[in-house]
C-alpha cells in the first residue's frame, strides 16, 4: 500500500503540495487529475523519492521514502514510466530493460534477457530488441519504457503523463497496453489528461487543485452529477478537457 500523509512540498517559497493525503491499495488504479502546475508530477516524484518532502510522510508498503533504507525498499516495490521516456540512449531496448534486473535484482543475464524479450513480445516489439532508442518511434520508445518498468516486477506502477508526448495513434498503442495491465490487476498511480481513458481503467480518481487534493472518489462517483461534477472546479476542468 502507498500511503501519503499530510504531504507538503515547497520549492523555495512556492508551496506546491499542501497537506496531501492519499492511499493506494494493491489492485487499485488511481488516476490523478488536475490542471497544469497543480502538482501532479511533483506528487509522483515525491512517491518515488526523486523529490524530498518538506513535510508529512510517504510510505510504500510501510517503507518511509524519506529514510535511506526505506527509499531503497520503496524503490524496489515501485517502478516509474516517464512522460519523455528517459531511456538510456547508449543502450539497446534489451539493454534498457535488463540493466536494473541484472544490477539490482541480481538476475543472471540470460534470465533477465529472456524476461525482457517476453515483455517486448507482449508489447509488440519482439523484433526491436536490439534497436537503440534513436531508431525507435516515440510510441515504441514508450513501450520500451513500460517494459523497463515492468521488468522490475513492481507492485506499484507510477505513470506520469506517459502518452502526452505521443501522437494519437501511438497513444492508442500505449493505452491499450496499460488497459491490459490494469485488467491483469496491476496497481497503478496514473497521471493523465486522457479523461475518457482514466474513466475507463481507474478504480478511483483524485483531483489536485493548486497543490491541494480536493476530491478523492471512486470513478463512478467522480463522474456523477451529485459527486465530482457537483464541485464547480472539477466541472469546469472536465468541460475544458473535452473542448481540447
Amino acid at each position: 500500500m502507498i500511503v501519503a500523509e499530510n504531504v507538503e512540498k515547497r520549492f523555495g517559497d512556492a508551496l506546491v503540495l499542501k497537506r496531501v493525503n492519499l492511499r493506494v491499495e494493491p489492485g487499485e488504479v488511481v488516476t490523478i487529475l488536475g490542471a497544469s502546475g497543480s502538482g501532479k508530477s511533483t506528487l509522483i516524484r515525491c512517491i518515488n523519492g526523486l523529490e524530498a518532502l518538506t513535510g508529512g510522510r510517504i510510505t510504500v508498503d510501510g517503507h518511509d521514502v524519506s529514510t535511506k533504507a526505506g527509499l531503497v525498499a520503496a524503490r524496489r516495490a515501485s517502478a516509474t514510466v516517464f512522460q519523455l521516456f528517459n531511456l538510456y540512449p547508449h543502450m539497446t531496448a534489451l539493454g534498457n530493460i535488463t540493466l536494473a534486473p541484472i544490477e539490482v535484482l541480481k538476475l543472471p543475464k540470460a534470465e533477465a534477457e529472456a524476461r525482457a524479450r517476453a515483455l517486448l513480445d507482449k508489447v509488440g516489439l519482439g523484433a526491436q530488441a536490439d534497436a537503440y532508442p534513436q531508431q525507435l518511434s516515440g510510441g515504441q520508445r514508450q513501450r520500451v519504457g513500460i517494459c523497463r518498468a515492468l521488468a522490475m516486477q513492481p507492485r506499484y506502477l507510477l505513470l506520469d503523463e506517459v502518452t502526452s508526448a505521443l501522437d494519437p495513434e501511438m497513444t492508442g498503442d500505449v493505452l491499450r497496453i496499460l488497459a491490459e495491465l490494469a485488467a491483469d490487476g496491476t496497481t497503478m498511480v496514473f497521471v493523465t489528461h486522457e479523461i475518457e481513458f482514466a474513466r475507463h481503467i481507474s478504480s478511483r480518481i483524485v483531483f489536485l487543485e493548486q497543490g491541494e487534493l480536493i476530491v478523492d472518489l471512486p470513478t463512478a462517483a467522480f463522474f456523477a452529477e451529485d459527486g465530482g461534477l457537483a464541485v464547480p472546479r472539477i466541472r469546469q476542468f472536465l468541460s475544458k478537457m473535452k473542448k481540447d
Partner: protein
C-alpha cells in the same frame, strides 16, 4: 639525392626515437583518459572535499607550464626517494598533465547528461556508483570523444618536451642527429612528416571511435 644521403645513416636511430614517442604517447593517453575520467567523476561528486581535491589538481596542472611540471617530477621524485627512469617519469608527467585537461572535457560531457535519464536510473534502484559507471559516464564519454581528441593531439605534441629530461624520443633523437650532421633542416623536415603523420592518424582514430560510439545516438 642530397637529402636522403644526409638522413639515411640515421634513419634507424630516428625511427627508434619515433617508436619511443609512440610508446610514450600511447601510455600517456591511456593514463590521461583514466585519470581524467576519475577526476571528472570526483569533480561531479556531492562531497565537497572530494570535489575540492579534484578541482585543485585540475587547476594546478592546467596552469603550470608542462616543462616546469616535468622538471618538478624529474628532479623532485628522487628527492622523495622514488627512483624511476626518465621515460617512466615522462609518461607519468604527461598522464598527469593530460588528465587535468581530459577531466575538463569529460566533466562537460557529464553535465550534458539528461536529468530525466538519471531520474530513470535512480528510481530503478541502481546504486550511485552503478548510475555513474553504467549510465552517466558512458553517455558522457560518447559526447566527449571529439573534444578529447584535440586534448590528446596536444599531448602528442607535448611529448617532444621529454627530450629535455634525456629521453631520446623523436625530438631527442633529432637533436642528436642534427648536432652530429650539422644538417638541422633535413632532420627537422623528417620530424615534421613523422609528427604530422602521427597526429593525423590519431585524429582519424578518434573520429572512428566517435562514429562507432555514437552510431545510434543523436547529438554530440
Amino acid at each position: 639525392m642530397r637529402f636522403w644521403r644526409v638522413i639515411e645513416p640515421y634513419i634507424g636511430f630516428l625511427l627508434q626515437g619515433f617508436a619511443l614517442t609512440i610508446a610514450a604517447c600511447l601510455l600517456a593517453i591511456a593514463g590521461a583518459v583514466l585519470l581524467g575520467a576519475l577526476t571528472a567523476s570526483m569533480r561531479s561528486s556531492g562531497n565537497r572535499l572530494v570535489r575540492g581535491a579534484a578541482n585543485a589538481y585540475g587547476d594546478v596542472f592546467r596552469n603550470v607550464p608542462f616543462l616546469v611540471q616535468l622538471f618538478f617530477f624529474f628532479y623532485g621524485l628522487p628527492e622523495l626517494g622514488i627512483y624511476i627512469g626518465a621515460f617512466e617519469t615522462g609518461v607519468i608527467a604527461m598522464s598527469i598533465a593530460g588528465g587535468a585537461f581530459v577531466s575538463d572535457v569529460i566533466l562537460s560531457g557529464i553535465l550534458t547528461v539528461d536529468a530525466g535519464v538519471i531520474d530513470a536510473a535512480k528510481v530503478s534502484g541502481l546504486s550511485r556508483v552503478k548510475i555513474f559507471t553504467r549510465v552517466v559516464l558512458p553517455i558522457a564519454l560518447r559526447v566527449s570523444v571529439r573534444p578529447m581528441g584535440s586534448v590528446l593531439i596536444n599531448l602528442v605534441l607535448t611529448s617532444s618536451i621529454l627530450s629535455t629530461i634525456t629521453v631520446n624520443e623523436l625530438t631527442g633523437a633529432a637533436k642528436i642527429v642534427a648536432a652530429t650532421t650539422f644538417k638541422p633542416f633535413e632532420v627537422y623536415a623528417v620530424l615534421l612528416v613523422l609528427y604530422a603523420s602521427l597526429t593525423t592518424l590519431l585524429s582519424f582514430a578518434i573520429s572512428a571511435v566517435h562514429r562507432r560510439l555514437n552510431r545510434f545516438m543523436t547529438g554530440g
